[in-house]
């Protein structure tokens, strides 16, 4: 199944490749005509205002929103034929972990190992499974809380449990949907440390976020989604020099539906008019 060889990075197919891809719900596209290629070792931040479609895009990669058109390839395999799910580590956007029954952090993280087992065969957890679960908890700094009931952990700690769960499948890419949203500054700092530790280990990551500042120095590439289209794709430096052109999305407002922004169009775009909510805020 594995066509990628870590020894020859140049020969390896990209981890993700989207060509003119559209995602959405039944017959209503939210993201249209997206082109995006992610290669091993990249840390890509996906920015955009609320409702721009950035979550729809990553959820589409994970098969959670309907793929409506264009091409989506994972590790060189079309999405529909892709079955090697252990290679994808997904950290969903969640604010709390289920508290209806008790479950320890280690038990939640162990779910990540299921990708390496078959459901029709009785599961006998190996020493290797246990070791990987322990290591995943260690990477996110939760070794000492492995036996704690997840519902007693803080929001930031729960977020790290979800990252550890994704790591436990030993993935080739981590796809995270708003890992830093809604947690206090101190926990965000700890989370940023965890992400930078992962980046240093060469983990490929796609991170949907509102808070680019928390990820400064980790991100190697920035993609901006606006109104369901890729509006910018480049290095953090290139992004910084154009920062005023985009709304990174820290604020809640509606999008202009038909505002198909390309980088060139954006650079030449006139200042927003007085009735444009963006214009009001930017002034």
């Amino acid at each position: 199944m594995t066509t990628a060889s870590p020894a020859e990075p140049t020969a390896a197919p990209p981890i993700l490749r989207l060509r003119q891809a559209s995602f959405g719900y039944t017959d209503q596209p939210v993201v249209q005509g997206a082109d995006l290629t992610v290669r091993a070792g990249e840390v890509v931040a996906v920015l955009g205002p609320n409702g721009s479609g950035k979550s729809t895009l990553v959820r589409g990669l994970m098969g959670l929103t309907t793929h409506l058109g264009g091409e989506v390839e994972l590790f060189g395999v079309p999405r529909a034929e892709f079955h090697d799910f252990a290679r994808l580590g997904y950290v969903p956007q969640r604010h709390t972990l289920s508290a209806s029954v008790r479950a320890t952090a280690a038990e939640i993280v162990a779910v990540g190992r299921l990708a390496h087992h078959h459901w029709w065969r009785p599961l006998l957890r190996s020493a290797r499974d246990t070791e990987i679960v322990e290591r995943a908890l260690e990477v996110v700094g939760l070794s000492e809380r492995a036996a704690a009931d997840v519902s007693t952990l803080s929001g930031g700690q729960q977020r790290r449990v979800l990252i550890a769960r994704a790591l436990a499948s030993d993935p080739d890419i981590l796809v995270m949907d708003e890992p830093t949203a809604g947690i206090d500054a101190a926990n965000q700092h700890v989370l940023a440390e965890v992400l930078s530790r992962l980046a240093r280990r060469g983990t490929t990551m796609v991170i949907v976020t509102h808070e680019l500042a928390a990820l400064a120095g980790i991100v190697t590439r920035i993609v901006v989604i606006q109104s369901g289209h890729v509006a910018f794709d480049g290095t953090p430096d290139a992004f910084a020099s154009r920062a005023g052109d985009f709304d990174a999305g820290a604020h809640d407002h509606h999008d202009d539906d038909d505002n198909r922004l390309t980088p060139t169009a954006l650079a030449a775009a006139p200042a927003a008019g007085p009735l444009d909510p963006k214009g009001v805020r930017r002034s």
């Binding site: 994970m62 098969g63 959670l64 079955h83 799910f85 994808l88 997904y90 969903p92 969640r94 972990l97 289920s98 209806s100 029954v101 008790r102 479950a103 320890t104 038990e107 939640i108 162990a110 779910v111 299921l114 990708a115 087992h117 459901w119 029709w120 009785p122 599961l123 700094g141 070794s143 000492e144 809380r145 036996a147 704690a148 009931d149 007693t152 952990l153 803080s154 700690q157 979800l162 769960r165 499948s169 101190a186 926990n187 700092h189 700890v190």
Partner: protein, 333 residues
């Protein structure tokens, strides 16, 4: 007790109680986890319609009840899967339609009596015939094995359906499997606990177990233990007290819950005196956090400004070694 075991039908009743006592909480924990605690009750309603059809047509009521409950289970999952808000109303129509049809059909059947209906609704293990008991036992063993094999996957789906879907697990299939396991458990338990009370044996032992266990694994074990104690204890008590088995079992399960809840509240209160939270700090201790680490029994204490911090749930506790080990209440701070 020897008198009890010398009776053939009581031996069978006790065996049935053990099987139901294991199966019901084991399936029920996933219903609690998915916040579907009342779904078993609804399936019991629909199963009654199946029983009634069996009684009326002269077929085995067990078989018709099983068919009705399994059909309801699949329908429930399909309705839920569509995710419409009207699904909730659709379920209500199905459940009450089931029980209403059951009552009406049974009243029309020549061979039935009100006592007959009561036996199915509230359980009367000692009236079940031998052939039915073997069918129940066989089904209960199938439920136990299937739940055991699927346990990690049912846990994954119930815990985070979206993550399970992203990980390629057959989420819809597993949800239907859980619904069918619930339906079979309902039917298997109908002679012991009764169709109106079976849901209680799925849920209450799990509520008790949530107070006693510290992990999912431990709480499942507690739930099964509580389930078996309630069902076997209930059958024995109903024999001596001459009460219906179902109601006796459920009252016993509730009594155990009340005892566990009071005991755990008392223990929590006692522990609160020994448990001192560290001052609020944003720093996370760890191997390279810069604070001296001291191995201490099963955990590590970190020396923080001259006092010791140990991880507890989401925060840190103050660990004063003198007080901790010598249990001197008035040790030097």
């Amino acid at each position: 007790m020897t008198e009890l075991l010398s009776l053939d039908f009581m031996r069978q009743a006790l065996l049935a109680a053990v099987l139901v006592g294991i199966a019901a909480p084991l399936v029920g924990v996933f219903l609690v986890q998915r916040r579907l605690s009342l779904i078993g009750d609804g399936m019991g309603h629909v199963a009654l319609a199946g029983v009634a059809v069996g009684v009326l047509t002269g077929h085995a009521p067990v078989l018709t009840a099983l068919l009705a409950a399994v059909a309801a289970a699949v329908a429930i999952e399909l309705i839920r899967g569509r995710g419409r808000t009207s699904g909730d109303v659709a379920l209500a129509v199905m459940f009450y339609g089931g029980i209403a049809a059951g009552v009406v059909i049974i009243a029309k059947s020549p061979s039935s009596s009100p006592a007959n209906l009561t036996a199915y609704l509230f359980g009367a293990i000692t009236t079940a015939d031998q052939r039915d008991l073997w069918v129940f036992a066989g089904l209960a063993v199938v439920v136990l094995l299937t739940t055991w094999v699927l346990r990690p996957w049912l846990f994954a789906v119930a815990n985070d359906e979206e993550y399970a879907r992203a990980g390629g697990l057959p989420v819809t299939g597993l949800n239907i499997a859980l619904a069918v396991l619930t339906a079979v458990t309902v039917v298997v338990s109908m002679r012991v606990v009764g169709l109106l009370l079976i849901s209680a044996l799925m849920i209450i032992p799990n509520a008790t177990a949530q107070l006693l266990g510290r992990s999912f694994r431990a709480s499942v074990r507690w739930a099964v233990l509580v389930g078996v104690v309630s069902s076997v204890g209930g059958v024995v008590a109903s024999f001596y007290a001459e009460t219906p088995s179902g109601g006796t079992i459920v009252l016993l399960a509730i009594a155990l819950f009340v005892v566990a809840a009071s005991a755990s509240a008392a223990i929590a209160k006692a522990r609160a005196h020994q448990h001192r939270r560290a001052e609020r700090h944003d720093h996370e201790h760890g191997p390279d956090c810069g604070h001296a680490a001291i191995e201490h029994h099963d955990h590590v204490d970190y020396v923080h400004d001259g006092h010791r911090h140990a991880a507890h749930e989401g925060h840190y506790d103050e660990h004063d070694p003198a007080r901790h080990e010598a249990r001197k209440e008035n040790a030097q701070p």
